[in-house]
Symmetry: C2
Subunit: 378 residues, 2 copies
């Protein structure tokens, strides 16, 4: 073995592999490949397994010089449609690109999977192939939410993995969400809040009070601060870093926030197109307005992360364009690079050993893993 090949081997061992589902998004494989091009440029340490119809994918990939030598195509004959029932995909979906994408993580060929397909089906396939982390009853989907906090984002979970959650589940969400914020947002001791209809302790459903007390008791072991109940207005606020809720409420809050942001953006565009003066103003303010748009662009934080499985899965929005896909793959790369999967598993295990403050995943300054820097324009 020559010196050169030893160096190549060492460099290759530091590379990360991301498994990407090319099919199943609303905009088809062309949008996924376009996003992949941007991700490959931004993440030179990453290689990709791309799953789908090779007849479609081969020409799309071949015309991109930046993907040369970085992408391995894997043929999958079937596609999961947005209207497919999760239960059917679980039973009969073995030949789909989604299944193959998850399976590559299961087989250890890739350390993280990305798909913009049907959320319910993706969670079902992830559950059946990757299985739950020991001690986790219901996995959750965590999203990043633009906020007033210095890092620019808060974490909210569950935003749609399951339609309900009991007190035990909400406690596990608190622990997993704190881990994600610690690694993803670089916060040593994230502040966790439980979403409710009022901040006073007597308000809300009875199960919320139970969850409140369980999370409060586990905060020390989970290495987070529990601020108690928070309200919808705190999701984009600065009182907390992590908002814990059931998947029904979280999903509706997420889509309400996205819809409201979109409405205002459209109104803003109309306002600037309204008069001659306002059109001039739009030109003058172009830089500032672009900065604003970047700050609230939901595509920038595209990528719900499935937490609580033996493997990391990033769910990109079904309607993602190239920018959205690139953000989701970028998030996947950073999670892979940080050893997120192992650190989360260690934290869940340590939180389960009640009262013990094992700190297995370390502080964000430890080791080779750095914060994801999602707030700094990834």
């Amino acid at each position: 073995m020559t010196q050169d090949s030893v160096q190549t081997a060492a460099a290759e061992s530091a590379r990360i592999v991301v498994s990407v589902d090319a099919m199943g998004g609303d905009r088809g494989p062309a949008a996924v490949v376009a996003g992949l091009v941007a991700s490959a440029r931004d993440n030179p340490d990453a290689d990709f397994l791309l799953h789908g119809d090779v007849a479609v994918l081969t020409p799309l990939v071949a015309r991109q010089a930046g993907l040369s030598g970085r992408v391995t195509l894997r043929h999958a004959a079937q596609v999961v449609a947005m209207t497919d029932k999760p239960s059917q995909v679980m039973r009969h979906g073995q030949a789909t690109s989604m299944w193959a994408t998850i399976d590559a993580v299961k087989q250890g060929e890739a350390s993280v999977a990305v798909s913009c397909g049907n959320t319910g089906a993706l969670m079902a396939v992830s559950l059946i192939r990757l299985r739950r982390l020991p001690g986790i009853n219901r996995p959750a989907i965590a999203c990043l939410w633009p906020s007033r906090n210095p890092g620019g984002f808060n974490v909210m979970l569950d935003v749609g993995a399951d339609i309900k959650a009991d007190a035990e589940d909400l406690l596990q969400y608190a622990s997993m969400g704190a881990s994600y914020a610690r690694i993803g947002l670089g916060l040593a001791r994230p502040r966790v809040g439980l979403l409710n209809v009022g901040t006073e302790e007597h308000k809300g459903r009875a199960e919320m009070k139970l969850a409140h007390d369980r999370i409060a008791a586990a905060a020390e072991a989970g290495a987070f601060d529990f601020v108690g109940f928070v309200e919808g207005g705190d999701i984009p606020g600065s009182r907390v870093d992590v908002i814990v809720t059931d998947g029904f409420t979280g999903n509706i809050a997420l889509k309400t926030g996205e819809g409201t942001a979109k409405l205002i953006s459209d109104f803003l565009r109309e306002a600037f197109a309204a008069t001659f003066l306002s059109k001039i103003a739009a030109l003058l303010a172009l830089t500032s307005l672009k900065r604003l748009q970047v700050r609230i662009d939901p595509r920038r934080v595209n990528g719900g992360v499935f937490l609580g499985l033996n493997g990391t899965v990033v769910k990109s929005h079904g309607a993602s364009d190239a920018t959205g896909v690139a953000a989701a793959i970028g998030l996947a790369c950073q999670l892979a690079r940080s050893g997120f999967r192992e650190r989360l598993a260690a934290r869940v295990a340590s939180t389960m050993r009640a009262g013990q403050d094992a700190g297995a995943e370390g502080s964000p300054d430890n080791g080779s893993a750095s914060g994801l820097g999602v707030g700094s324009g990834q």
Copy 2:
């Protein structure tokens, strides 16, 4: 009786009386009186009963020429605090300004009540004094939400009267929400949607499917179109006019939307203050930006309406300033003027007579009641 006094009596009989709680808001009675001044100017056919500490209120009212002869002060020695438990206020709150405000409607002295106090207490006092409409199990709070629809607003309920709702309650919300949209937004046949985590019928909680089928079966009798499940993104959208959900989910969606809108407004302000050019741009675009601000200003649609009681109660936001209070009182005046209470009660009764399409409240073009015109800059 002279001709003059007959005319005066006739004019007075057409006047409306609004009962206003001056206390209990976060900004105190001065903000309420300031809002009252604007409302009195905009609603010359309205007189007001103002409840609270007369020692505080007398000088506040006396210095406003516009309120002369329009306001009757009613002394109430106590104030409901934001931290008071509803159950305690129900038992021991008889001397509070909130109680007296509701009682004036109960006694027939006023046709509608307005308060910016503690929501839970206001609902509790309203329930105990006004009682539920026959056939209504859980009253609801309906709010107006800025939307892409031509009228500029959608109706959502329940946004916080109760923390749960079963299929029967959700059906009643659909009927009451449709009535509110018919009268409030001038829509002959409102489109009603049931808030869920997906629009496919197999998604969501089991009780949602039951509610879906109940509402679908009652649409004809309720004189509305049922579009089925809608998602969070549809709340500010144009697919529906009325969004039906339980009070837990609705309250969180409302506050999430408000918080998101506030975040973006603040970011926008920062963007325009960022550079010299952007400051110039802000000046040039002032008119357009002001129009935008009006379109998304939550104070403009301040006023949740309690539906399902023997009397109309408008809940103003606790943190309302003069603009917010004026919007809530303005809404109260318009509801009083339209005979909303009687028309809603007739519709609920007719919807209960299953299969019958009684149309008791008439179309918005009928009779003397006009649409509230909330979308046209009230």
